[in-house]
């Protein structure tokens, strides 16, 4: 062991590290290209199918395609296809950060009941016009969803801080919360009028078909507002994965970071639910794929989670149109069909070891 730390074998590690970074950047670029491809296929598919050439032409130069094609692509399909991308990214980032701050591989807005809580908040507004925070009528659905989701997230956060609370305890609590809020949504359905019932039922089955440009813009703004906050905390969030004591010794204000992150996560989980209903497992599967591909350095893990979540939901949207020709399968069913086997395999593969 040398007493001179700064003088020895410099170039070897540095070169390998730069190569590692380049590999991660290439993976990110690959994910972005795959997402773009999936988005184009999603736009091309539908009752009237278009070629990829037509889709690209309509996007790049709308004036050069027939009016009918332009209307179908820009006014109907584009908001839905982009909503899949934005919601997928938001849910995946929310799941990634929940897994990071709770140190729990099974955490995600869906598995811990935050999505169910948001559904209940939205249902209260839809069925009875209840506003948990006084606001303009068009905003009470997303605001209610956010308030109930945030309170649930805070409850989970506070419980996770107690001594002796294990990963499994939090997951069981999440299952209890899912059942509780599902029961409450059923109660709202039972008590609501026939007209309101149809709107509430929509929330129980995630669907992108009601996406509109204004909803897409709000969801995108939420995502764009929260991402820079995570970006600024990238080193600190990565340090949390080395353990709370270690992160604190690096100067990270652990309690504050956890609380702030949980608030952001509730926002990211609640707003998509308010607009497209509950879409399960994206927040679980997206981050795990990102982690396997790129590791947990948040400078790469964060964009990789966003891209993989967006890609999964966009590809699910393509699958929902292709499974039964001529009809659109509810996308929540497609993501559950992908997510449930993944969830079970995570449980069975001894999560502690693989995490």
């Amino acid at each position: 062991m040398s007493s001179e730390p700064a003088a020895l074998s410099a170039k070897h590690g540095r070169g390998l590290y730069r190569a590692l970074v380049l590999r991660k950047q290439l993976i990110l670029a690959g994910l972005a290209v795959a997402l773009l491809l999936s988005l184009c296929i999603d736009l091309a598919l539908g009752p009237a199918s278009y070629s990829l050439d037509q889709v690209v032409l309509a996007l790049v130069s709308p004036g050069s395609v027939p009016l009918q094609v332009r209307v179908v692509l820009w006014d109907i399909r584009l908001p839905i296809a982009l909503m899949a991308v934005v919601v997928g990214a938001a849910l995946s980032v929310a799941g990634a950060q929940m897994q990071t701050i709770l140190n729990n591989p099974l955490a995600s807005p869906f598995t811990l009941g935050i999505s169910a809580a948001a559904s209940f908040g939205a249902a209260l507004a839809l069925a009875f016009g209840v506003a948990l925070i006084p606001a303009a009528i068009e905003y009470i659905v997303p605001l209610n969803a956010f308030v109930v989701a945030m309170l649930t997230a805070l409850a989970i956060h506070l419980l996770s801080l107690k001594r002796g609370v294990t990963v499994e305890t939090i997951v069981l609590l999440g299952i209890a919360l899912v059942f509780t809020f599902n029961a409450l949504v059923s109660l709202v359905q039972y008590l609501s009028s026939e007209q309101a019932l149809a709107a509430v039922v929509f929330w129980t089955m995630g669907s992108l078909t009601k996406a509109t440009w204004p909803k897409l813009i709000i969801t995108s703004l939420i995502l764009l507002a929260t991402l820079p906050i995570f970006v600024r905390r990238a080193w600190a969030l990565t340090a949390l994965r080395l353990g709370e004591d270690k992160a604190a010794s690096f100067g990270v204000k652990v309690a504050r970071l956890r609380l702030e992150t949980m608030m952001m996560v509730s926002l990211l989980a609640a707003i998509p639910v308010a607009f497209v209903g509950t879409i399960g497992f994206i927040g679980l599967v997206g981050p795990h794929i990102a982690r396997m591909l790129i590791g947990e350095d948040q400078r790469f893990f964060l964009p990789a989670s966003a891209l993989s979540g967006a890609l999964i939901l966009s590809a699910s949207s393509v699958a929902s149109k292709s499974l039964v020709p001529g009809t659109i399968f509810p996308i929540g069913i497609v993501t559950s069909l992908i997510g449930i086997p993944f969830f079970i395999s995570l449980i069975l593969s001894n999560v502690r070891r693989s995490w």
Binding site: P5, Y17, L20, D245, K246, G251
Partner: protein, 261 residues
Amino acid sequence: MVTIRLDGLGAFHGARLVLSDVSTPIFRGGEVVAVIGPNAAGKSTLFKRIAGLLKGPGRVCLEGALKGPDGICYMPQDTAANAVLTVYESILLARKQGSAWSVSDGDLALIDGILAALSISDLAFRNVGELSGGQRQVVSIAQTLAREPEILLMDEPTSALDLHRQVEVLSFMRGLARKHGIAVLIAIHDLNQALRFADKCIVIAEGRMVACGTPEEVVTPALLRDVYRVEARIERCSRGIGHVMVDGVAAETAAAASIAA
């Protein structure tokens, strides 16, 4: 040169005062200070209080620290972490906290130097979750050094290391302290290593400081009986270094009872 002095330092866990009245003379950069005491005596609590991670009465008086309180770096006791991060990334992480995303050649050169100095260059691109306890401990030291400390608080840095590695790491830390003028405080259970490597010694028992001085002044048969409750002698080897020779468990003494009270 950096100096540190503790003045009536105490620490709270919640509302409970678990450490009180720790006052020391000045420790200077270049010195290695062993902090010894039985299990749960308050050694880690003392370090966390000095590092500002716990609140409590008293003051940590620093002089000559270029980075101020940020120059105090605390290395916690080893805990397993199974993050999907390479050793190299985990050391970079320690260095870059609170700064920009970009990583300069200077950052990487420093990490390469630390890895080479601690003889762990071969671990650089292994995942931290795959390391043994001893390897994790050396990586932890590397992470702490990457923060370029002026005052270094190391909580049992050699507890998982074999004898060869213990001597190697402690010699390295003493050399580093001397060369760069770092004040190194090490919480350690092995009293023979404390006698061998430390310039000063603080004894903590039951949340209070019960002795402070050179290791030879502090580690005495009376202290071993009162604090550790063992009958022991101190014998010097041919190089004049003291060694603790334990004869057996001591009966309860009045002084031990007073420390416990």
